[in-house]
Amino acid sequence: MDTIDYYQIMSIGVYGSAIGLILIGLYAVLMKKHLTKIVIGLSIIDAGINLLFIAIGYISNGTAPIYSSQGIDLVKAGTPMVDPVPQALVLTAIVIGFGVTAVALSLVIRLYRHHNTARIDQIKSLKW
């Protein structure tokens, strides 16, 4: 029996869940009628993309890119540090995602006030 390739399984798990989150979010955005659920779908897509970024930056057996005293010892012993650039980008992306969600929710509230409903199939003025 061959040795089980641990990283093969991990890659299927991590990439699979990231792509799965993106697809679930896209499904929610396209299928759901309630605007709040569409906003939730957008933030699920966000989470999937962030997970994908972090997974791409991972290096097997890598440690966090922090030069604490343990980190310096680990690097001297030959442990690689994971790529810091995707993590910094994801930090930015999370903050922007928060801004997008907040503004989208406020627009939903505004629509609800105007039309008395937040379901897009009941907002009549959208029909052309």
């Binding site: 697809l23 299928m31 991972y58 290096i59 907040a102 406020s106």
Partner: protein, 238 residues
């Protein structure tokens, strides 16, 4: 019919995502050795301890190498908070007080949140003060502080944020960030250039301007997130 089309679209998107990701091996070292950096990530990893003496490389990237980007990010957050306020603006009647929650919460929750609220504030301050040494930073610490304010808003009926205090904290923090950048421009001919001594790695006071900027970002994010939460919670329907 529509559902079928959407599932077909999702299948196509999923297929192409899977195909493109299958070429990227999970856990492979694409950065190269940090003694001879090939990619920008390895370059940051090799330069950060010597150039900036900042332990947390992500902080070094966010605040120093891409500090201008972070200034833009903070202003996006500011715009989101302002836009939220202006979209949801409703003229208040004189002397009208908008309650954040309708029913008062239980005595247990009130006592517990009073007990835990200072601890949350201290944890948030710890996270953004130590942003250059440990995982965390201004954005994370600010978010933690905002959760503390959210807890107070949820448990106390008449807990309201003072909006003029929020605006002042926000503006002062933003001005601090921008003026530190401008001092760098005057002293070292480059915006956000480090003009303070970098100190020793893993000391609390190290990394030059990075801790100062992250403390300012922490205050700004905490004020903005609390303001957003307060705006969203004090919506009055009809």
């Amino acid at each position: 019919m529509k559902k079928l089309l959407i599932i077909l679209l999702l299948a196509v998107v999923g297929y192409f995502l899977t195909v493109s990701m299958s070429n990227i091996k999970f856990g492979a070292n694409r950065m190269g050795d940090s003694s001879q950096p090939k990619t920008v990530g390895a370059f940051y990893l090799s330069k950060t301890p010597g150039e900036l003496s900042v332990a947390n490389v992500i902080t070094a990237i966010v605040v120093n190498y891409r500090g201008f980007d972070t200034l833009g990010e903070v202003s996006v957050l500011f715009l989101a908070a302002t836009g939220l306020g202006s979209i949801l603006y409703k003229k208040k009647k004189k002397g009208e007080h908008l309650p954040t929650v309708k029913k008062p919460s239980s005595a247990l929750l009130q006592a517990g949140s009073k007990l835990i609220f200072p601890a949350i504030l201290v944890l948030g301050a710890y996270v953004f003060i130590h942003g250059h040494l440990t995982p965390g930073g201004g954005f994370q610490g600010g978010a933690i502080i905002a959760t503390g304010f959210l807890l107070m808003m949820m448990s106390y009926k008449d807990f309201t944020m003072n909006h003029s205090v929020i605006t002042w904290v926000e503006s002062l923090a933003g001005i601090t960030f921008a003026s530190i950048g401008l001092i760098g421009l005057v002293v070292d001919h480059s915006f956000l250039e480090n003009f303070l001594p970098i100190g020793r790695i893993n000391d609390l006071i190290s990394g030059g301007i990075i801790p100062l900027i992250y403390v300012a970002v922490g205050f700004k994010v905490a004020a903005e997130l609390s303001g957003v939460l307060d705006t969203l919670l004090s919506i009055k329907e009809k």
